[in-house]
């Protein structure tokens, strides 16, 4: 039985798709057979971030409507074995997602895969609801600013009441907080909420802190999940987060401002 993980946030532009791509890739790198599904029907982006936009033939909506089978629709990643992408349809809208159809696809995928990562669209409407409904775990992507925190809070309320697990009275969806676009320097100046501020308000376990980085945009434009750029801070932070998702105990990094030590100064001087 596969584990279903939803990446969600409520607010748009906080890094859900970047996170879905990175986490799915990270899980596959560690040997778990993983599929990532784009639930953002009508505004599909995941295929771009994963760099497979030119290989889309059939999509998620085709599978739901039984116009194609899974084998035809899944796109195999060229870099990482065990990683598959199920893209969204760009020409339909979210009303085409129905709960029975989505449930059937997830059940079918469960037989073959270890992890199913559902990339939720922004908002709290049908697309987001479908993405979270079957989830076992949720990665709540939050930026260190008040509106994002409030939207995440709203999403956490929905996860506790509007999922299959909640409706069937099973164990609740396991919630993880992923703080993205974090800039320790701005936190120190008081321009940004700190890790403590956000965890205090949302009161869920911290999965990771992804530092604000130019590399993320660059990787997205290049169609390469940031986690594969393993020399970047953001890539390493995502790798840590995937480790923690699998239960490893890894210290949090990139939370403090890097102190300019003596050797750093010296190096600066020499260059």
């Amino acid at each position: 039985m596969a584990k279903v993980i939803v990446t969600t946030s409520g607010k748009g532009g906080v890094g859900k798709t970047t996170t879905s791509a990175a986490v799915a890739t990270g899980l596959a790198l560690r040997g778990y057979k993983t599929v990532v599904i784009d639930f953002d029907v009508g505004l599909r982006n995941l295929d771009l971030i994963m760099g497979c936009e030119r290989r889309v033939v059939y999509d998620f909506v085709n599978v739901i409507r039984k116009e194609s089978n899974l084998k035809q629709s899944l796109i195999k990643d060229k870099r990482v074995s065990d990683l598959y992408i199920l893209p969204a349809s760009q020409t339909r809208d979210k009303d085409t997602l129905d709960i029975d159809g989505v449930g059937r696809v997830i059940e079918e995928l469960s037989e073959d895969f270890d992890y199913i990562v559902c990339d939720s669209p922004a908002g709290i409407e049908r697309g987001a609801f479908m993405a979270m409904y079957f989830a076992d775990e949720a990665i709540v992507v939050t930026n260190p600013e008040v509106s994002s925190v409030r939207d995440s809070d709203r999403i956490l309320g929905l996860l506790a009441s509007k999922t299959k697990r909640a409706e069937n009275g099973q164990d609740p969806v396991k919630e993880h907080l992923l703080l993205t676009r974090y800039d320790p320097l701005r936190v120190e100046k008081g321009e940004m909420l700190s890790v403590e501020d956000v965890t205090e308000i949302l009161a869920i376990p911290l999965l990771g802190v992804i530092p604000e980085s130019k590399d993320v945009l660059q990787a997205s434009n290049a169609g390469c999940p940031i986690i594969l750029e393993n020399e970047t801070d953001a890539g390493q932070a995502y790798d840590d987060a995937v480790g923690r998702l699998l239960g490893e105990d890894i210290n949090h990094r990139f939370i403090e401002v890097e102190k300019k030590g003596f050797f750093n100064k010296l190096r600066l001087f020499r260059s």
Binding site: R150, D153, G157, A160, A203
Partner: protein, 256 residues
Amino acid sequence: MVVEVFHADLVALEQELQEKLTVAPAFFRNAPVLMDFEHLEDAIDLKWFNDAYDMLYMHSFIPVGVVAPPDYLKQAIAKQQIAVWPSAETARKGNQSVSSRHEDSVAEQQEADTEERTVPEDQQDESGATATSAGQTVCGELVDEPQAQPTMLVLQPVRSGQKVYAKGGDLIIMAAVSTGAEVMADGHIHVYGTLRGRAFAGAQGDESARIFCKDLQADLISVAGTYLINDDLPQKFRGASVQVYLREEQLIINPL
């Protein structure tokens, strides 16, 4: 819907009713009405009451109850299987704008989710449209709760957009109440976490209800309709462990 009766002149009353009816005849057809005698100074008798009843019925209203009838008529009216409510005066104190607002939410809440005493997901879109008729809010305000309900205990955080209503009793929350969340109780409210959302104690008018919280950062606190918004919270009580209660129609905040 409530018909407030100011005088005992049936002919004039019928005329006034007729004027209202011509405005929106369909809206009033078969509408259940309460007759409110709160402001009636003229003396009335049972025959007058029966005539008034028939007159309302002729105009296709369905009289279902009376509010604050003269004491000597109460029994006779009750015998005719018409509901009798006491005066609404006690429940109407406090700030008018906020009380009407929270009555709406009470009615909403009663519609939305009273059976299962769990954290209900807010359904503002649907219920906001339905639960606005005057009849509903007035009923929500007047219904007597004969016996106390068990205290409602919430262990999970109450998130933005969620509502919790402890009907007929107290509410204890063992976690934080987020900004944008609403917690309501007909009795007291205890929050053993940070209170950032809105809290309504004494939601049906109980002025002895109190709010207790470990960390006051509320968007709004209200006891029996009298309220304070975040901007008006005294600086020294922000983030403090406090109780809030009503005295002489003023909210008093005391440190614990």
